[in-house]
Symmetry: C2
Subunit: 97 residues, 2 copies
């Protein structure tokens, strides 16, 4: 019995998984932004401060820990959260103007 | 019966959801990077081209469509994929050197 390993088949299988992960990421991100829109509206209505540095710091610490336990680079997890928060702030500014 | 709405309680509930979404994102990202590491190793072993512009174009188109149907800004979905791909390329370069 020969072992017919085709690297292109294997690549295609990996890519299907990657596409599934990306679809999951997009749907969770969509729901996350729906939530931050609600937060933005709540803060505007009740005059709550737009940003909370203490909250951001604890979010970063928590995500770095989660990253470590799940074999993800903690620096990437932090960069990722910063990328998302920048987008949220931009959305809030657009909503205000 | 009075309606005792506390905006800070409501904010705290939203934040718990956001933290749950972030934890899900981190875990899926961890798994996605484990996959792209396997892809990198496969490409190196079988001398497959490191990047595939046709693949990237179809990934972007697909994610933009998914974003539209899930109420996420398609431009953000594209920026997000570019952010991830930049990180993957950096990982591949580090692995090679």
């Amino acid at each position: 019995m020969t072992d017919q390993f085709d690297p292109l088949d294997e690549l295609s299988r990996h890519r299907t998984s990657i596409d599934n992960f990306d679809a999951a990421l997009i749907h969770i991100l969509a729901e996350r932004f729906r939530k931050t829109k609600q937060v933005g509206a709540l803060k505007a209505k009740y005059n709550l401060p737009p940003s909370d540095k203490g909250r951001e710091k604890s979010q970063i610490e928590h995500l770095r820990k989660l990253a470590k336990t799940s074999d993800l680079d903690p620096d990437f997890a932090e960069k990722f959260l910063e990328f998302i928060i920048r987008e949220v702030i931009q959305h809030h500014n657009q909503a205000r103007s």
